[in-house]
Symmetry: C2
Subunit: 217 residues, 2 copies
């Protein structure tokens, strides 16, 4: 499969395709037309065809898409055909939530992300197990990473600690930061960052609510 | 200001503009060119001009954007010039995180969202305060909502409870659901829903990591 340069907007839509196809697969659906996929996903069939054409198509005219093949190919594009080992820093409420999510979740989508280490600076947490993983102190991080192939660091530390903890992770070999601190991190070009801002989607919801009321008025 | 039909993609980018403009405002910046905004936000200046043209511009050629005005106008578009009252159901780890986020946060962006009620079904939580708000049992929800103008319901309940709790909220007057359960809710057209899937952004990060490695290879 040859890949052209793909826009960020398309890439951002792929996880959603991956989720829906995963659900269809779990339900035993073998083939699906862009029309049916469109109905379930509430996007236009033309959008679906356009998006998937970026990767050379996948569909045969009149036959629809092979669900298993498409799911697998999108997984490859997203790089989740490989398992990614992860660590997490900041074992507060949200750190707990994510730790449980990755260890207890039976979803195929979390299967490819393996959380192996939890770190904090609060001595009262040292050695405590969260979701079956012992909490280590942050200064143990270099030794922990030395013989492991950990690619992704999850940041659930307070905002003011985010930049320094991210740098510490990167210095010790982490290549990708999934950042939940309320700050857009700026890191070297040899590292990728995904800054997650939960409030953004609440603002989108606020917009939709405003539009809904406008229609009713 | 006249508004045309605006694409979902543009709307989804507005909260990010709002955040950056809020930071600039807090730093005392009065005007900014699309070029400087482009550099800070790491999107092209032409994208910025295009996005903001959807709302009639805001900028004067050669003078850049008035930060305060633009921030305020985008706030109006997003419907956050009004304060939204919210309730939350599911006071687990993530419920705690969000409750604290909205009550302790001093950010201008959370100011317009007021969390007034927490609900759960676990009797051991009854009356316990989280972030200064007492936890109520779910069956108290109708009485709680009766004399209040609560528009938004936050769902941090387990996946299997999400649909029924969302319906219960909607029956009692909630118009917008911010859903963190791992399921895309289907609700009446008189209600808006924002289904948040944290894993989607991790998959995007995985893609970026794959591309980074490809470049280095």
């Amino acid at each position: 499969m040859t890949q052209r340069e793909i826009s960020k907007a398309v890439i951002r839509r792929l996880p959603r395709y991956y989720r829906y196809l995963g659900d269809l697969l779990a339900d035993g659906t073998e083939r699906i037309s862009s029309k049916d996929l469109s109905r379930i996903m509430k996007v236009t069939a033309s959008q679906i065809r356009q998006d998937l054409n970026n990767f050379g198509g996948f569909g045969q005219q009149g036959y629809g898409y092979n669900v298993e093949y498409l799911h697998e190919e999108i997984g490859k594009i997203l790089g989740i055909d490989d398992t990614h080992e992860m660590i997490l820093a900041g074992v507060g409420n949200f750190g707990h939530t994510l730790a449980k999510f990755f260890t207890e979740g039976k979803k195929s989508s979390t299967r490819r992300f393996r959380l192996s280490g939890l770190f904090d600076i609060d001595p009262s947490l040292e050695g405590k197990e969260v979701a079956g993983i012992p909490v280590r102190m942050l200064d143990e991080l270099p030794a922990f990473l030395e013989n492991r192939d950990v690619e992704i660091g999850i940041l659930t530390v307070p905002t003011e600690a985010a930049a320094s903890v991210a740098e510490f992770m990167v210095e010790n070999g982490v290549r990708a930061i999934w950042n939940y601190a309320h700050i857009d991190l700026k890191l070297p070009e040899s590292v990728v960052v995904e800054n997650v801002h939960l409030l953004d989607s609440l603002m989108t919801l606020s917009y939709d609510l405003k539009e809904l009321k406008k229609k009713e008025a």
